[in-house]
Amino acid sequence: MFEVSELSYCYPQSKVCAVDGIDFKINEGEIFGFLGPSGAGKSTTQKLLIKMIRDYQGEILYHGKPLHDYGNQFYEDIGVSFEMPISFSKLTAMENLEFFQRLYRKTVDVEPLLKRVGLWEHRHKKAGQYSKGMKIRLNFVRALLNDPKMLFLDEPTNGIDPVNSMILKDMIREFRSDGGTVFLTSHIMSDVDQLCDRVAFIINGKLRECDSPRNLKLKYGKRVVTVEYKEKGELLTKEFPMDDIKKDSFHQFLKTKDIETLHSGETTLEDIFIKVTGVALHG
Protein backbone atom coordinates (compact mmCIF):
# COMPACT_ATOMS: atom_id res chain seq x y z
CA MET A 1 0.00 0.00 0.00
CA PHE A 2 2.82 2.35 0.99
CA GLU A 3 6.33 2.12 -0.35
CA VAL A 4 8.83 4.42 1.24
CA SER A 5 12.38 4.83 0.03
CA GLU A 6 15.20 7.00 1.28
CA LEU A 7 12.77 9.20 3.11
CA SER A 8 14.38 12.06 5.01
CA TYR A 9 13.01 15.10 6.72
CA CYS A 10 14.66 17.79 8.84
CA TYR A 11 12.54 20.32 10.68
CA PRO A 12 13.44 23.90 9.81
CA GLN A 13 16.08 25.31 12.14
CA SER A 14 17.04 21.84 13.23
CA LYS A 15 20.50 20.47 12.56
CA VAL A 16 19.73 16.77 12.84
CA CYS A 17 17.09 15.13 10.70
CA ALA A 18 14.04 13.81 12.52
CA VAL A 19 13.72 11.15 9.81
CA ASP A 20 16.97 10.14 8.22
CA GLY A 21 16.86 8.02 5.08
CA ILE A 22 14.39 5.30 5.90
CA ASP A 23 12.99 2.56 3.67
CA PHE A 24 9.98 0.40 4.39
CA LYS A 25 6.82 -1.00 2.93
CA ILE A 26 3.33 -1.31 4.34
CA ASN A 27 1.39 -4.17 2.80
CA GLU A 28 -2.34 -4.03 2.32
CA GLY A 29 -4.23 -5.69 5.15
CA GLU A 30 -1.45 -5.69 7.71
CA ILE A 31 -0.76 -3.90 10.95
CA PHE A 32 2.63 -2.31 10.63
CA GLY A 33 4.26 -0.85 13.70
CA PHE A 34 7.00 1.62 14.45
CA LEU A 35 8.61 0.92 17.80
CA GLY A 36 11.04 3.43 19.21
CA PRO A 37 11.91 5.63 22.16
CA SER A 38 10.72 9.19 22.63
CA GLY A 39 12.06 11.55 19.98
CA ALA A 40 12.96 8.75 17.58
CA GLY A 41 10.93 10.19 14.72
CA LYS A 42 7.75 8.11 14.93
CA SER A 43 5.26 10.96 14.85
CA THR A 44 7.28 12.73 12.18
CA THR A 45 7.07 9.64 9.98
CA GLN A 46 3.32 9.53 10.49
CA LYS A 47 3.04 13.21 9.56
CA LEU A 48 5.00 12.49 6.37
CA LEU A 49 2.77 9.57 5.42
CA ILE A 50 -0.42 11.59 5.95
CA LYS A 51 0.87 14.51 3.86
CA MET A 52 1.03 16.92 6.74
CA ILE A 53 4.68 17.52 5.99
CA ARG A 54 5.20 17.88 2.27
CA ASP A 55 8.73 19.10 1.70
CA TYR A 56 10.53 15.83 2.34
CA GLN A 57 13.42 14.16 0.56
CA GLY A 58 13.02 10.72 -0.92
CA GLU A 59 9.94 8.95 -2.13
CA ILE A 60 6.60 7.91 -0.73
CA LEU A 61 4.40 5.84 -3.00
CA TYR A 62 0.77 5.18 -2.15
CA HIS A 63 -0.77 2.48 -4.33
CA GLY A 64 2.24 2.88 -6.60
CA LYS A 65 1.77 6.61 -7.17
CA PRO A 66 3.79 9.39 -5.53
CA LEU A 67 1.96 10.84 -2.55
CA HIS A 68 2.48 14.31 -4.04
CA ASP A 69 0.16 13.38 -6.90
CA TYR A 70 -2.81 12.81 -4.61
CA GLY A 71 -5.22 15.63 -3.96
CA ASN A 72 -7.37 16.06 -0.92
CA GLN A 73 -9.39 12.97 -1.93
CA PHE A 74 -6.57 11.01 -0.29
CA TYR A 75 -8.10 11.97 3.06
CA GLU A 76 -11.42 10.31 2.25
CA ASP A 77 -9.51 7.03 2.44
CA ILE A 78 -7.54 7.42 5.62
CA GLY A 79 -8.23 7.86 9.31
CA VAL A 80 -5.72 9.53 11.59
CA SER A 81 -5.36 9.48 15.34
CA PHE A 82 -2.80 11.90 16.74
CA GLU A 83 -0.81 11.53 19.93
CA MET A 84 -2.37 14.67 21.40
CA PRO A 85 -6.04 15.51 21.89
CA ILE A 86 -7.56 17.10 18.81
CA SER A 87 -11.04 18.17 19.86
CA PHE A 88 -12.67 21.54 20.33
CA SER A 89 -12.66 21.81 24.11
CA LYS A 90 -15.79 23.95 24.36
CA LEU A 91 -17.84 21.60 22.21
CA THR A 92 -19.27 18.31 23.44
CA ALA A 93 -17.79 15.06 22.19
CA MET A 94 -20.86 14.54 20.03
CA GLU A 95 -20.70 18.06 18.56
CA ASN A 96 -17.05 17.47 17.75
CA LEU A 97 -17.76 14.20 15.97
CA GLU A 98 -20.73 15.63 14.09
CA PHE A 99 -18.62 18.52 12.86
CA PHE A 100 -15.79 16.31 11.58
CA GLN A 101 -18.27 13.82 10.14
CA ARG A 102 -19.78 16.43 7.85
CA LEU A 103 -16.40 17.01 6.22
CA TYR A 104 -16.49 13.57 4.60
CA ARG A 105 -18.53 12.03 1.85
CA LYS A 106 -18.87 8.66 3.52
CA THR A 107 -19.41 8.37 7.26
CA VAL A 108 -20.27 5.75 9.85
CA ASP A 109 -22.74 5.68 12.70
CA VAL A 110 -20.83 6.80 15.78
CA GLU A 111 -23.17 5.26 18.35
CA PRO A 112 -21.73 1.73 18.30
CA LEU A 113 -18.19 3.12 18.29
CA LEU A 114 -18.81 5.40 21.24
CA LYS A 115 -20.53 2.58 23.13
CA ARG A 116 -17.65 0.27 22.45
CA VAL A 117 -15.02 2.66 23.82
CA GLY A 118 -17.22 3.59 26.78
CA LEU A 119 -17.93 7.20 25.84
CA TRP A 120 -21.59 6.96 24.84
CA GLU A 121 -22.93 8.08 28.20
CA HIS A 122 -20.38 10.92 28.22
CA ARG A 123 -21.18 12.09 24.70
CA HIS A 124 -22.81 15.33 25.83
CA LYS A 125 -19.91 16.31 28.04
CA LYS A 126 -17.57 19.00 26.75
CA ALA A 127 -14.42 17.50 25.29
CA GLY A 128 -12.37 19.84 27.47
CA GLN A 129 -13.80 18.13 30.53
CA TYR A 130 -12.69 14.69 29.38
CA SER A 131 -9.85 12.89 31.13
CA LYS A 132 -6.69 12.24 29.17
CA GLY A 133 -7.67 8.65 28.41
CA MET A 134 -11.15 9.71 27.32
CA LYS A 135 -9.67 12.27 24.93
CA ILE A 136 -7.43 9.65 23.35
CA ARG A 137 -10.41 7.29 22.98
CA LEU A 138 -12.34 10.12 21.35
CA ASN A 139 -9.41 10.60 18.96
CA PHE A 140 -9.69 6.95 18.03
CA VAL A 141 -13.39 7.30 17.23
CA ARG A 142 -12.59 10.46 15.25
CA ALA A 143 -10.12 8.42 13.17
CA LEU A 144 -12.81 5.89 12.27
CA LEU A 145 -15.50 8.46 11.33
CA ASN A 146 -15.06 8.22 7.56
CA ASP A 147 -14.92 4.43 7.35
CA PRO A 148 -11.27 4.60 6.25
CA LYS A 149 -9.33 1.98 4.34
CA MET A 150 -6.19 2.78 6.24
CA LEU A 151 -5.63 3.91 9.81
CA PHE A 152 -2.70 5.89 11.19
CA LEU A 153 -2.49 5.59 14.94
CA ASP A 154 0.13 7.55 16.83
CA GLU A 155 0.56 5.94 20.25
CA PRO A 156 -3.05 4.72 20.34
CA THR A 157 -2.92 3.24 23.83
CA ASN A 158 -0.72 5.81 25.52
CA GLY A 159 -2.37 7.02 28.71
CA ILE A 160 -5.23 4.52 28.53
CA ASP A 161 -6.18 2.05 31.26
CA PRO A 162 -5.63 -1.68 30.62
CA VAL A 163 -9.31 -2.50 30.06
CA ASN A 164 -9.83 0.20 27.45
CA SER A 165 -6.46 -0.58 25.97
CA MET A 166 -7.67 -4.15 25.36
CA ILE A 167 -10.85 -2.84 23.76
CA LEU A 168 -8.90 -0.55 21.41
CA LYS A 169 -6.56 -3.35 20.45
CA ASP A 170 -9.51 -5.62 19.70
CA MET A 171 -11.00 -2.89 17.52
CA ILE A 172 -7.72 -2.44 15.68
CA ARG A 173 -7.56 -6.18 14.99
CA GLU A 174 -11.17 -6.18 13.78
CA PHE A 175 -10.36 -3.28 11.50
CA ARG A 176 -7.66 -5.43 9.93
CA SER A 177 -9.97 -8.46 9.69
CA ASP A 178 -12.38 -6.30 7.72
CA GLY A 179 -9.63 -5.63 5.21
CA GLY A 180 -8.14 -2.46 6.67
CA THR A 181 -4.47 -1.56 6.86
CA VAL A 182 -2.89 0.02 9.93
CA PHE A 183 0.23 2.02 10.58
CA LEU A 184 0.83 2.48 14.27
CA THR A 185 3.59 3.88 16.40
CA SER A 186 4.34 3.04 19.96
CA HIS A 187 6.99 2.92 22.61
CA ILE A 188 5.02 0.27 24.44
CA MET A 189 6.52 -3.08 23.59
CA SER A 190 3.54 -5.25 24.49
CA ASP A 191 1.21 -3.30 22.18
CA VAL A 192 3.41 -3.86 19.22
CA ASP A 193 3.98 -7.48 20.17
CA GLN A 194 0.26 -8.19 20.45
CA LEU A 195 -0.93 -6.24 17.45
CA CYS A 196 1.62 -5.93 14.71
CA ASP A 197 2.14 -8.26 11.80
CA ARG A 198 5.42 -6.52 11.21
CA VAL A 199 7.41 -4.08 13.25
CA ALA A 200 10.26 -1.72 12.48
CA PHE A 201 12.62 -0.37 15.10
CA ILE A 202 13.25 3.32 14.80
CA ILE A 203 15.92 5.27 16.59
CA ASN A 204 17.34 8.71 15.85
CA GLY A 205 15.37 8.82 12.62
CA LYS A 206 16.83 5.57 11.30
CA LEU A 207 15.29 2.12 10.95
CA ARG A 208 17.13 -0.87 12.30
CA GLU A 209 15.11 -4.04 11.95
CA CYS A 210 11.91 -4.70 10.11
CA ASP A 211 10.22 -8.05 10.50
CA SER A 212 7.39 -9.86 12.26
CA PRO A 213 7.69 -9.92 16.06
CA ARG A 214 7.86 -13.69 15.83
CA ASN A 215 10.74 -13.74 13.39
CA LEU A 216 12.61 -11.17 15.44
CA LYS A 217 12.23 -13.33 18.49
CA LEU A 218 13.43 -16.37 16.58
CA LYS A 219 16.35 -14.42 15.22
CA TYR A 220 17.45 -12.81 18.43
CA GLY A 221 15.94 -15.08 21.05
CA LYS A 222 18.17 -17.50 22.85
CA ARG A 223 17.28 -20.91 21.51
CA VAL A 224 17.45 -22.69 24.81
CA VAL A 225 15.14 -24.39 27.25
CA THR A 226 15.62 -23.62 30.92
CA VAL A 227 14.47 -26.20 33.40
CA GLU A 228 14.01 -25.54 37.09
CA TYR A 229 13.97 -28.65 39.24
CA LYS A 230 14.17 -29.73 42.85
CA GLU A 231 16.92 -31.93 44.10
CA LYS A 232 17.42 -32.73 47.77
CA GLY A 233 15.21 -29.80 48.73
CA GLU A 234 17.25 -27.37 46.65
CA LEU A 235 15.99 -25.48 43.58
CA LEU A 236 18.37 -25.86 40.66
CA THR A 237 18.29 -24.74 37.03
CA LYS A 238 19.73 -26.23 33.89
CA GLU A 239 19.79 -24.97 30.30
CA PHE A 240 19.41 -27.16 27.23
CA PRO A 241 20.01 -26.01 23.65
CA MET A 242 16.74 -26.03 21.71
CA ASP A 243 18.21 -28.53 19.26
CA ASP A 244 18.68 -31.05 22.05
CA ILE A 245 15.08 -31.37 23.12
CA LYS A 246 14.46 -34.30 20.79
CA LYS A 247 17.37 -36.16 22.28
CA ASP A 248 17.06 -38.89 24.86
CA SER A 249 19.32 -37.15 27.30
CA PHE A 250 16.73 -34.37 27.63
CA HIS A 251 13.80 -36.76 27.91
CA GLN A 252 15.68 -38.77 30.49
CA PHE A 253 16.30 -35.60 32.45
CA LEU A 254 12.62 -34.73 32.44
CA LYS A 255 11.64 -38.23 33.51
CA THR A 256 14.02 -38.52 36.38
CA LYS A 257 13.99 -35.06 37.90
CA ASP A 258 11.40 -33.33 39.99
CA ILE A 259 10.56 -30.53 37.48
CA GLU A 260 9.22 -27.23 38.81
CA THR A 261 9.15 -24.99 35.71
CA LEU A 262 10.06 -25.21 32.04
CA HIS A 263 10.77 -22.13 29.91
CA SER A 264 11.82 -21.67 26.34
CA GLY A 265 14.33 -18.84 26.15
CA GLU A 266 12.03 -16.46 24.35
CA THR A 267 13.31 -12.93 24.42
CA THR A 268 10.92 -10.02 24.71
CA LEU A 269 10.78 -7.45 21.93
CA GLU A 270 12.13 -4.99 24.43
CA ASP A 271 15.26 -7.11 24.97
CA ILE A 272 15.65 -7.43 21.24
CA PHE A 273 15.22 -3.70 20.83
CA ILE A 274 18.03 -3.05 23.27
CA LYS A 275 20.18 -5.65 21.59
CA VAL A 276 19.63 -4.20 18.11
CA THR A 277 19.79 -0.51 18.90
CA GLY A 278 21.88 -0.45 22.04
CA VAL A 279 19.28 1.85 23.55
CA ALA A 280 16.53 1.15 26.06
CA LEU A 281 12.96 2.03 25.10
CA HIS A 282 12.37 3.92 28.29
CA GLY A 283 15.06 6.39 29.30
Binding site: P12, M52, I53, D55, F82, I86, K90
Partner: protein
Protein backbone atom coordinates in the same frame (compact mmCIF):
# COMPACT_ATOMS: atom_id res chain seq x y z
CA UNK B 1 -19.03 23.90 -1.63
CA UNK B 2 -20.90 21.73 0.87
CA UNK B 3 -17.70 21.36 2.86
CA UNK B 4 -17.14 25.10 2.92
CA UNK B 5 -20.66 25.58 4.28
CA UNK B 6 -19.91 23.06 7.04
CA UNK B 7 -16.71 24.88 7.90
CA UNK B 8 -18.41 28.28 8.01
CA UNK B 9 -21.22 26.93 10.17
CA UNK B 10 -18.62 25.42 12.48
CA UNK B 11 -16.70 28.70 12.67
CA UNK B 12 -19.81 30.72 13.48
CA UNK B 13 -21.09 28.32 16.11
CA UNK B 14 -17.68 28.10 17.76
CA UNK B 15 -17.47 31.88 17.86
CA UNK B 16 -20.29 31.93 20.38
CA UNK B 17 -19.30 28.67 22.12
CA UNK B 18 -15.87 30.15 22.84
CA UNK B 19 -17.40 33.44 23.96
CA UNK B 20 -15.70 35.45 21.21
CA UNK B 21 -18.92 36.65 19.61
CA UNK B 22 -20.13 37.88 22.98
CA UNK B 23 -16.83 39.69 23.47
CA UNK B 24 -17.21 41.54 20.16
CA UNK B 25 -20.77 42.50 21.13
CA UNK B 26 -19.51 44.03 24.35
CA UNK B 27 -16.99 46.11 22.41
CA UNK B 28 -19.68 47.23 19.94
CA UNK B 29 -21.90 48.24 22.86
CA UNK B 30 -19.02 50.21 24.27
CA UNK B 31 -18.63 52.19 21.03
CA UNK B 32 -22.37 52.82 20.90
CA UNK B 33 -22.33 53.96 24.52
CA UNK B 34 -19.62 56.46 23.65
CA UNK B 35 -21.62 57.64 20.61
CA UNK B 36 -24.63 58.28 22.85
CA UNK B 37 -22.83 61.13 24.57
CA UNK B 38 -21.40 62.78 21.45
CA UNK B 39 -22.40 66.00 19.84
CA UNK B 40 -23.36 65.93 16.19
CA UNK B 41 -20.08 67.30 14.84
CA UNK B 42 -17.99 64.77 16.77
CA UNK B 43 -20.39 61.98 15.91
CA UNK B 44 -19.94 62.53 12.19
CA UNK B 45 -16.30 61.62 12.54
CA UNK B 46 -16.83 58.94 15.14
CA UNK B 47 -19.44 56.76 13.43
CA UNK B 48 -17.24 55.86 10.43
CA UNK B 49 -14.51 55.15 12.93
CA UNK B 50 -16.68 52.56 14.70
CA UNK B 51 -17.09 50.70 11.43
CA UNK B 52 -13.40 50.99 10.74
CA UNK B 53 -12.44 49.55 14.12
CA UNK B 54 -14.98 46.73 13.81
CA UNK B 55 -13.71 45.66 10.40
CA UNK B 56 -9.99 46.06 11.18
CA UNK B 57 -9.17 45.57 14.86
CA UNK B 58 -12.01 43.22 15.70
CA UNK B 59 -11.43 41.13 12.59
CA UNK B 60 -7.74 40.66 13.30
CA UNK B 61 -8.48 39.84 16.91
CA UNK B 62 -11.11 37.25 15.98
CA UNK B 63 -8.89 35.57 13.43
CA UNK B 64 -5.97 35.56 15.84
CA UNK B 65 -8.04 34.16 18.69
CA UNK B 66 -9.69 31.40 16.67
CA UNK B 67 -6.43 30.33 15.07
CA UNK B 68 -4.73 30.41 18.43
CA UNK B 69 -7.36 28.07 19.86
CA UNK B 70 -7.22 25.81 16.84
CA UNK B 71 -3.47 25.49 17.16
CA UNK B 72 -3.56 25.03 20.90
CA UNK B 73 -6.21 22.34 20.70
CA UNK B 74 -4.65 20.85 17.54
CA UNK B 75 -8.06 20.91 15.89
CA UNK B 76 -6.48 22.48 12.83
CA UNK B 77 -4.56 19.22 12.39
CA UNK B 78 -7.76 17.29 12.70
CA UNK B 79 -9.46 19.47 10.10
CA UNK B 80 -6.57 19.12 7.69
CA UNK B 81 -6.49 15.33 7.73
CA UNK B 82 -9.99 15.50 6.31
CA UNK B 83 -10.63 16.40 2.65
CA UNK B 84 -10.72 20.11 3.62
CA UNK B 85 -8.21 22.13 1.58
CA UNK B 86 -6.17 25.11 2.69
CA UNK B 87 -8.28 27.36 0.44
CA UNK B 88 -11.47 26.14 2.07
CA UNK B 89 -10.03 26.61 5.53
CA UNK B 90 -9.01 30.20 4.77
CA UNK B 91 -12.22 30.97 2.89
CA UNK B 92 -14.20 29.81 5.93
CA UNK B 93 -12.27 32.22 8.13
CA UNK B 94 -12.94 35.07 5.69
CA UNK B 95 -16.66 34.31 5.43
CA UNK B 96 -17.03 33.94 9.19
CA UNK B 97 -15.57 37.40 9.62
CA UNK B 98 -17.75 38.89 6.89
CA UNK B 99 -20.81 37.49 8.65
CA UNK B 100 -19.59 38.99 11.90
CA UNK B 101 -18.97 42.35 10.24
CA UNK B 102 -22.44 42.33 8.70
CA UNK B 103 -23.97 41.69 12.10
CA UNK B 104 -22.02 44.72 13.35
CA UNK B 105 -23.26 46.80 10.41
CA UNK B 106 -26.86 45.99 11.25
CA UNK B 107 -26.54 46.54 14.99
CA UNK B 108 -24.60 49.80 14.68
CA UNK B 109 -26.73 51.23 11.86
CA UNK B 110 -29.96 50.50 13.69
CA UNK B 111 -28.63 51.81 16.99
CA UNK B 112 -27.27 55.03 15.49
CA UNK B 113 -30.53 55.64 13.69
CA UNK B 114 -32.61 55.03 16.80
CA UNK B 115 -30.34 57.09 19.05
CA UNK B 116 -29.52 59.99 16.76
CA UNK B 117 -31.68 59.61 13.67
CA UNK B 118 -28.58 59.46 11.49
CA UNK B 119 -28.55 57.41 8.28
CA UNK B 120 -25.84 56.87 5.71
CA UNK B 121 -25.24 55.21 2.35
CA UNK B 122 -25.62 51.53 3.16
CA UNK B 123 -25.06 50.51 -0.46
CA UNK B 124 -21.54 51.90 -0.26
CA UNK B 125 -20.98 50.80 3.32
CA UNK B 126 -21.67 47.09 2.85
CA UNK B 127 -19.22 46.37 0.03
CA UNK B 128 -16.58 48.50 1.73
CA UNK B 129 -17.04 46.59 5.00
CA UNK B 130 -16.73 43.30 3.12
CA UNK B 131 -13.53 44.41 1.40
CA UNK B 132 -11.95 45.73 4.59
CA UNK B 133 -12.90 42.57 6.45
CA UNK B 134 -11.38 40.32 3.80
CA UNK B 135 -8.07 42.20 3.87
CA UNK B 136 -7.90 42.20 7.64
CA UNK B 137 -8.80 38.54 7.88
CA UNK B 138 -5.80 37.82 5.69
CA UNK B 139 -3.61 40.16 7.72
CA UNK B 140 -4.90 38.48 10.89
CA UNK B 141 -3.92 35.09 9.49
CA UNK B 142 -0.43 36.38 8.78
CA UNK B 143 -0.19 37.72 12.33
CA UNK B 144 -1.35 34.35 13.68
CA UNK B 145 1.40 32.64 11.64
CA UNK B 146 4.00 34.93 13.17
CA UNK B 147 2.85 34.35 16.72
CA UNK B 148 4.26 31.39 18.58
CA UNK B 149 2.14 31.90 21.68
CA UNK B 150 -0.57 34.09 23.08
CA UNK B 151 1.71 36.86 24.30
CA UNK B 152 3.47 37.14 20.95
CA UNK B 153 0.05 37.18 19.30
CA UNK B 154 -0.91 40.16 21.43
CA UNK B 155 2.44 41.85 20.86
CA UNK B 156 2.23 41.47 17.08
CA UNK B 157 -1.33 42.71 17.18
CA UNK B 158 -0.30 45.80 19.14
CA UNK B 159 2.50 46.50 16.71
CA UNK B 160 0.06 46.37 13.83
CA UNK B 161 -2.40 48.65 15.59
CA UNK B 162 0.23 51.23 16.50
CA UNK B 163 2.10 51.27 13.25
CA UNK B 164 -0.81 51.05 10.84
CA UNK B 165 -3.99 52.03 12.59
CA UNK B 166 -3.13 54.78 15.06
CA UNK B 167 -1.72 57.32 12.53
CA UNK B 168 -4.87 57.47 10.38
CA UNK B 169 -7.06 57.62 13.49
CA UNK B 170 -5.03 60.56 14.80
CA UNK B 171 -5.42 62.18 11.40
CA UNK B 172 -9.20 61.85 11.69
CA UNK B 173 -9.05 63.98 14.83
CA UNK B 174 -6.52 66.37 13.25
CA UNK B 175 -3.76 65.42 15.64
CA UNK B 176 -1.61 64.65 12.64
CA UNK B 177 -1.89 67.09 9.74
CA UNK B 178 -0.19 68.07 6.53
CA UNK B 179 1.10 66.35 3.45
CA UNK B 180 2.26 63.30 5.39
CA UNK B 181 -1.37 62.24 5.75
CA UNK B 182 -1.61 61.90 1.97
CA UNK B 183 0.72 58.95 2.19
CA UNK B 184 -1.41 57.23 4.81
CA UNK B 185 -3.37 55.72 1.96
CA UNK B 186 -0.56 53.17 1.85
CA UNK B 187 -1.55 51.97 5.31
CA UNK B 188 -4.27 49.33 4.98
CA UNK B 189 -6.42 50.92 7.70
CA UNK B 190 -6.30 54.32 5.99
CA UNK B 191 -7.27 52.86 2.63
CA UNK B 192 -10.02 51.09 4.57
CA UNK B 193 -11.00 54.39 6.12
CA UNK B 194 -11.30 56.00 2.70
CA UNK B 195 -13.54 53.36 1.18
CA UNK B 196 -15.67 53.16 4.31
CA UNK B 197 -15.82 56.95 4.61
CA UNK B 198 -17.46 57.24 1.19
CA UNK B 199 -20.63 55.92 2.80
CA UNK B 200 -20.77 58.97 5.07
CA UNK B 201 -19.50 61.96 3.11
CA UNK B 202 -18.55 63.05 -0.37
CA UNK B 203 -15.24 61.54 -1.37
CA UNK B 204 -12.83 62.64 -4.05
CA UNK B 205 -13.30 60.11 -6.83
CA UNK B 206 -9.63 59.60 -7.54
CA UNK B 207 -8.88 58.93 -3.89
CA UNK B 208 -11.75 56.50 -3.62
CA UNK B 209 -10.73 54.62 -6.76
CA UNK B 210 -7.09 54.55 -5.70
CA UNK B 211 -8.07 53.16 -2.31
CA UNK B 212 -10.28 50.45 -3.84
CA UNK B 213 -7.58 49.51 -6.33
CA UNK B 214 -5.00 49.43 -3.60
CA UNK B 215 -7.17 47.21 -1.42
CA UNK B 216 -7.82 44.74 -4.24
CA UNK B 217 -4.15 44.48 -5.14
CA UNK B 218 -3.16 44.27 -1.48
CA UNK B 219 -5.61 41.42 -0.90
CA UNK B 220 -4.16 39.40 -3.75
CA UNK B 221 -0.58 40.09 -2.66
CA UNK B 222 -1.15 39.30 1.00
CA UNK B 223 -2.86 36.05 0.08
CA UNK B 224 -0.31 35.05 -2.53
CA UNK B 225 2.88 35.98 -0.68
CA UNK B 226 2.00 35.79 3.00
CA UNK B 227 -1.01 33.62 3.71
CA UNK B 228 -0.50 30.82 1.20
CA UNK B 229 3.21 30.12 1.66
CA UNK B 230 3.09 30.25 5.47
CA UNK B 231 0.24 27.82 5.87
CA UNK B 232 2.10 24.49 5.88
CA UNK B 233 4.55 25.79 8.39
CA UNK B 234 1.77 27.02 10.63
CA UNK B 235 0.07 23.63 10.60
CA UNK B 236 3.27 21.73 11.22
CA UNK B 237 4.58 23.86 14.01
CA UNK B 238 4.27 22.47 17.50
CA UNK B 239 1.42 24.06 19.39
CA UNK B 240 2.84 26.84 21.51
CA UNK B 241 0.89 27.82 24.58
Amino acid sequence: MARLAVLVKGEVSRLSKYGLFQATLVVTMFWLGAAWFMEEEMLERFVPLIFLLEATMMTILLVGATMFYEKKESTVNSILVSPVTMQEYIAAKVIMNIINSMISVVIISVAIYLMKGITFNYLLLVPAMIMVTIIHTLIGIKIAYMSLNFSSLLANYMVYVFVFLVPPVLAVFNVIRGVVTDFFILLPPEASNIILGAAFREAETWRLLAAWGYMLVLGVLVYRFMVKPGFDNFVMREAGV
